[in-house]
């Protein structure tokens, strides 16, 4: 590995030093703000900070936020980091110059994708792979689908290819051979050769990154990993040295897209797993808060500047998806918290289409030029402008602290021009119309993850977060028929909080592609034991306090002839010997239960196939007690009241009482219309809603009893 490390790479996991029970810090670096959540476990003291994100070096902003929320890095026992360094490098195409060495005849796999196109309508889209064609070289070798080596790899060609890549300026190298999932021998032999001459550690083989069938997805994931390795490694080195200079001697961990954390050391090897690091932490926090609050079924709704991110948590567990694409053709296949994104955020722009219909988004004003109310001459009428005009956002005290005040008149002018006049609506009706369409779009995304996947929204609470999420809670409760909304204590820093409670997690996959009746179960068990040992070793090396290790086993299975597989969880035996009790009958029972739940009926007499084995090794980190965040005793509703202001809703003005949200006592109830303000978010309680504060300080919004 390159880069300076602030600490030895290995420490015994079994002896967590008593001194490490100190301050736990979660840091989420977003596009605009870096959020810090710091908890002193000894005293129960919580501090939060929101500072501008620094660019291009995010570590400067992180260190500034850390200084604002702690008494110095030296007191920090562990720092868990949701990072967008990898995501940004992908989106902005600022990764390393990456070479690919591949099987003769297949240099274009990465560029040919799965023969798709960026948009359904219009053939004007383009695509640039992360490795350009002159950095994708072929060598003689071939493995068959059953793992037979048809042709051993020509190591002289491998060495020549590697030297050519270096001459052409490649910094990282991905080795991807066809059918390497079935037998990695040729890839491993090639790796040995390349490692000998490659000047750094940024060389990896596809069978190590993703030993799963489907060459494009495996090649893409492996190449993107290589593309990110130098960038993420350098970032971690810079961060570690900055932290070290401040006296930091704790553990640095990075949040993965699967919602678990990994050591900084693993993050350098597998940066591809950080592709959705930031959003994942928010969902993990939501799951923990939801369970603690006694509402384990929630749908999270994160309203950002350009997007609305939705995910579903059933019985306290977030849904995972097998892969995602960071932009067109940039497929990352690695378990990810399933997040559905639509282009509906505070910055989403209102316009009237040629048919005369009001559209909100997906175009966004972003933060530059931003909504009209940000001033500076931005011409766009956005969702935030409507919220300002209708009095739901306090124009005099915008959240985040970047702007001193918001320009209400500019918001009014933009809405008048782009919505009011073209539709023949007065100004306030136009602003309400904008929110109605925006809320309807958001409601559509919630229906997509709930109703369309067989979940009854009446059994779910909405957990809005992000600075703007709680403004839309009432409308979404009504539109979708949700039970209630649960607004966490710090909606604007939920992701940072999530960092501090995420478990460690390592996912492994191996393709078998065999009939259930014929598969060698001892091989499956051996593979699962190997994955368990590897995961447990990674967790041990991180040297972090753990409550225990859990291993989950899942098979991707189908009836023979079907295209789609179902993910079939099976009981995983004991922690030490996962999979030890696997029998064909047990696996079949598990498959049939899953299949019946998904499709209603079984297909008797068609043989069943196991495509992949998936093993997740989870190191349970101790959770802090959320009651540490609860409102203090002795607070009163009257004292929390800070005034009132007119808010427009349902076609008329209402005088809404305004409260300081963090000063509200537990157990209190507030009838809408009301506004609850706090530094990181604004909560709007519609006239037909009521709010209550639970013992942990969460705000519950429900339909008012009449």
């Amino acid at each position: 590995m390159s880069g300076a490390s602030a600490k030895p790479a290995t420490q015994p996991a079994t002896q967590p030093a008593a001194g490490r029970a100190g301050v736990i810090v979660g840091v989420d670096v977003g596009g605009t703000y870096t959020d810090v959540f710091a908890l002193d476990e000894a005293t129960g003291r919580v501090r939060v900070a929101k500072v501008p994100t620094s660019r291009p070096d995010q570590s400067a902003g992180l260190l500034a936020g850390l200084a604002a929320a702690t008494d110095g890095a030296a007191e920090v026992a562990s720092l868990v980091h949701g990072s967008t360094v990898g995501t940004n490098a992908l989106l902005e195409r600022k990764g390393a110059r990456t070479g690919v060495i591949t099987t003769q005849g297949f240099r274009d796999v990465l560029e040919m994708r799965r023969r798709d196109r960026p948009q359904t309508w219009g053939l004007w889209g383009g695509f640039e792979p992360v490795a350009p064609r002159d950095l994708r070289l072929e060598v003689a070798e071939r493995t068959l689908a059953d793992g037979t080596i048809l042709e051993p790899v020509d190591l002289a060609e491998v060495e020549a290819a590697a030297r050519t890549l270096l001459e052409r300026g490649a910094e990282a190298c991905a080795i991807v051979f066809i059918n390497a999932y079935a037998n990695p021998a040729n890839e491993r032999a090639a790796l040995d050769v390349v490692r000998r001459i490659w000047p750094n550690a940024y060389v990896e083989i596809s069978s190590a990154v993703l030993p799963e069938i489907r060459e494009f997805e495996r090649a893409s994931t492996t190449a993107i990993n290589a593309y990110l390795q130098p960038v993420v490694s350098r970032y971690i080195a810079t961060l570690e040295s900055g932290l070290g200079a401040g006296g930091f001697a704790g553990e640095l961990m990075i949040v993965q897209s699967n919602g678990g954390v990994m050591s900084a050391e693993t993050a350098r090897l597998r940066p591809v797993r950080t592709a959705l690091s930031g959003p994942a932490a928010g969902v993990i926090a939501a799951a923990h808060i939801a369970v603690a609050a006694g509402h384990p079924n929630v749908i999270t709704g994160d309203v950002g500047g350009t997007s609305f991110d939705v995910s579903l948590i059933a019985s306290g567990r977030a849904a995972l998806s097998a892969q995602t694409s960071i932009g067109f053709g940039m497929v990352v296949r690695s378990p990810m918290i399933e997040i559905t994104t639509i282009g509906a955020g505070g910055g989403s722009i209102a316009r009237i289409d040629r048919g005369g219909l009001l559209q909100i988004g997906p175009e966004s004003a972003g933060s530059d030029p931003g909504p009209a109310c940000y001033g500076g001459g931005s011409p766009h009428a956005t969702v935030t402008d409507a919220n300002v005009l209708l009095g739901r956002i306090n124009a005099e005290r915008p959240i985040g602290g970047k702007l001193a005040r918001l320009d209400r008149d500019a918001a009014a002018r933009a809405i008048e021009t782009h919505v009011g006049k073209p539709l023949g609506l007065d100004l306030l009706a136009a602003a309400e119309a904008m929110l109605r369409v925006a809320n309807s779009n958001m409601a559509g995304a919630i229906r997509l993850v709930s109703i369309e996947r067989g979940h009854d929204p009446a059994r779910f609470a909405l957990m809005p977060f992000g600075g703007g999420g709680p403004l839309h809670a009432g409308a979404l409760i009504r539109d979708v028929g949700l039970a209630r909304a649960l607004v966490p204590r710090f909606p604007g820093i939920t992701s940072a909080l999530g960092c501090t409670i995420a478990d460690m997690r390592h996912d492994f996959v191996q393709t078998f592609n065999a009939l259930l009746d014929e598969i060698a179960l001892d091989r499956v068990m051996a593979e699962s034991a190997r994955a368990h040992a590897a995961g447990a070793a990674l967790i041990a090396r991180a040297g972090v306090l753990m409550e225990g290790i859990e291993t989950r086993i899942e098979f991707d299975m189908s009836y023979v002839g079907q295209t789609h597989t179902v993910a079939v969880p099976v009981p995983s035996g004991t922690d030490a010997t996962p999979g030890a009790r696997l029998t064909r009958a047990l696996v079949r029972d598990c498959f049939e239960a899953t299949y019946r739940a998904a499709y209603g009926q079984l297909l008797d007499r068609i043989p069943v196939r196991i495509l992949n084995l998936r093993t997740a090794v989870i190191g349970r980190r101790p959770k802090f007690d959320l009651s540490l965040l609860a409102p203090a005793s002795g607070l009163t509703l009257d004292a929390a009241r800070t005034g009132s202001r007119p808010v427009h809703a349902e076609g008329r003005w209402h005088e809404a009482v305004v409260y300081n949200r963090l000063a509200l006592p537990a157990g209190t109830a507030i009838r809408g219309p009301a506004v609850l303000e706090q530094p990181d978010a604004t909560i709007w309680i519609d006239p037909d809603m009521q709010a209550s504060v639970d013992r942990l300080g969460n705000v519950l919004i429900e339909r008012a009893q009449t």
Binding site: R133, E215, L357, E452, A598
Partner: protein, 571 residues
């Protein structure tokens, strides 16, 4: 009168209902053509005219237009006799467009005794009888040589499933279980649509929802009219050719005379070739729908609503191969509609160059390799796929390399899935250098697929292709793409190529022998002389264009280093 804000909200809700019907079938489907390639569609259709009011976004683009013809056919046959709980099924392509493989289900949706709309589902079944498994018969001269023809008939009568109809359908498929599974998936999708519509009507009232249908159509029409009004009046003419009909090697002309007059557009195909014997003729419904697909690619903001077609007249006499009736086969419809779409793309160059692009690769090149495992009594295996090609050079950039057909959003299975499921070995899966048309913006590259047979019994080879004789054209001075090329190993071990260029049947190859398919790129956009020299140098350095072709097409002498890198691809 419905206010525009409520209408905007209802539009989103209706689109979501159609999307959810799509998703329901994709999950439940057995046929990989539905589950993986999404060769299916769902929507809501007008109660009197059958016009498409909403179609799901994940469905196959060509069905947006086709399904309105299908629903109209049901209305014409059954009139007012359909009852709540009835579902009509049929695959007659002369009534409902496309080909016999596409099974259509139409369900009337009643609310308070009043017909509010129809729900429709169409999906490509894996096998519906006929002489060729999978129904692609390049030698067909009658529709009965493609599969079983089902006229519109009740599948459900007042909520009761007619088991005898199901038995008839399954008895006529080589894959009865797949047919049954896909049929039930379509029925479930219609059920989901009806339930979601129940919720919407409960929330807004049947009258408001019915009003929204009219209003959405009117707005779609207004939107299209305003787009046409911006185009200069006049008549514009283009033509292109299909290679042949798979029987006789005679080119088939497709000609378009497009007239803009104020807010209206007339698409006249009268000068096209007479009906042919082979399966490249198509029904009027298919031709009109292909025009819609092209227009939606050109004006991609217009909604999936028949109102878009209101200001457009499509003229196709039944003396042409674009308006055939019984008993003409229609199985090769995918090739013919791509020619119609390509013509619309390039005709815009004559009056709205900012909206035009060159022709896309324009050929599905459906290749089937099949045989038996372990000897003559062994089980069948079959590798069947559509293959990709280059996208057109366009005003923004060079065409996309290796894209899918404009009529589809299907992806191709990966090599490793083909190799795990069938006894083949891919020797090459690569971009095809020099296949994109030269131009200011070069056409995207097609591909080379070279496949070796591992099975001792060898394999039968069938290709339903196009574009071997008439390559995709460039536009505004851009050059043509490379044509389709197909080869197989003959008995003496040398390469053979097909007498008909792009259509092959009855060829057998042995174990260890190969077939090789080279697909077209996209046509070029703008004069090659206007291409950025840096882009030409990059093309050569990356091997997209050979040094020889760079010199010929662009008159460019190469830097030595670029030329040497280009040699790598010639291994």
């Amino acid at each position: 009168m419905l206010d525009s804000v409520t209408l905007a909200v209802l539009k989103g809700r209706l689109e979501q209902i159609a999307d959810e019907m799509d998703a329901t079938l994709f999950r439940a489907a057995f046929s990989p053509i539905i589950a993986e390639a999404h060769d299916a569609a769902h929507g809501l259709y007008h109660p009197e005219t059958g016009e498409t009011m909403v179609q799901g976004k994940s469905g196959l683009p060509i069905f947006v237009g086709v399904m309105s013809f299908a629903v109209r056919a049901v209305i014409e046959k059954f009139g007012n006799t359909l009852k709540d709980g009835d579902v009509v099924i049929f695959n007659d392509p002369y009534l409902g467009g496309t080909h016999v493989s596409d099974m259509r289900l139409v369900r009337p949706y009643f609310r308070d005794g009043r017909l509010l709309c129809y729900l429709g589902s169409v999906a490509h079944w894996h096998d519906i009888g006929g002489p060729v498994p999978g129904n692609y018969n390049p030698k067909a001269t009658e529709i009965w040589q493609e599969g079983v023809l089902i006229p519109p008939m009740r599948l459900y009568a007042a909520g009761e499933l007619r088991e005898d109809v199901v038995d008839l359908l399954c008895a006529n498929s080589r894959l009865p279980r797949s047919a049954y599974g896909d049929l039930m998936g379509q029925v479930q999708a219609l059920g989901v649509g009806a339930r979601r519509l129940d919720d919407l009507v409960a929330e807004y009232g049947g009258a408001v929802v019915a009003d929204s249908f009219l209003a959405l159509k009117a707005r779609a029409s207004r939107q299209m009219r305003s787009l046409i009004a911006e185009l200069p009046d006049g008549t514009y003419t283009v033509e292109d050719h299909l290679d042949n009909d798979g029987g006789e090697d005679i080119a088939l002309k497709i000609a378009l005379d497009l007239t803009i007059s104020g807010e209206t557009m007339r698409l006249d195909f009268s000068r096209s070739a007479a009906p042919c014997a082979g399966p490249l003729g198509i029904a009027y419904a298919t031709s009109a729908s292909a025009c819609y697909v092209a227009l939606k690619h050109i004006f991609n903001d217009v909604p999936a609503n028949s109102g878009v077609l209101e200001p457009i007249s499509v003229v196709i006499p039944d003396t042409t191969m674009l308006n055939v009736g019984p008993p003409h086969p229609t199985g090769g419809y995918t090739e013919t509609i791509m020619r119609i779409i390509d013509l619309l793309f390039v005709v815009f160059a004559q009056f709205a160059p900012h909206r035009c692009n060159a022709m896309a690769y324009g050929a599905t090149n459906s290749l089937a390799l099949s045989g038996r495992r372990g000897g003559r009594e062994g089980p069948f295996w079959i590798l069947f796929s559509f293959f990709g090609g280059g996208h057109p050079g366009n005003p923004l950039r060079d065409g996309l390399n290796h894209g899918n057909a404009p009529v589809s959003t299907a992806t191709i299975p990966p090599v490793e899935i083909f190799e795990a499921q069938t006894p083949v070995l891919f020797r090459q899966w690569a971009l095809r250098p020099d296949s994109g048309g030269a131009g200011r913006h070069r056409g995207g590259l097609g591909a080379i697929y070279e496949i070796e047979i591992l099975e001792p019994g060898g394999a039968d080879v069938t290709l339903s292709g196009e574009r071997a004789r008439h390559p995709p054209q460039g536009v505004l001075g851009g050059g043509p793409a490379a044509p389709t090329r197909f080869y197989w190993h003959g008995p003496d071990g040398g390469w053979c190529d097909p007498p008909l260029g792009s259509k092959v049947a009855g060829v057998k190859i042995r174990q260890g022998q190969r077939v090789r398919l080279e697909t077209p790129g996209g046509g070029g956009y703008g004069p090659p002389a206007e291409r950025d020299p840096a882009a030409i140098a990059r093309d050569v350095a990356l091997g997209y264009v050979s040094p020889e072709r760079a010199a010929a097409d662009y008159g460019v002498a190469l830097p030595a280093q670029a030329a040497s890198r280009a040699q790598e691809k010639a291994r």
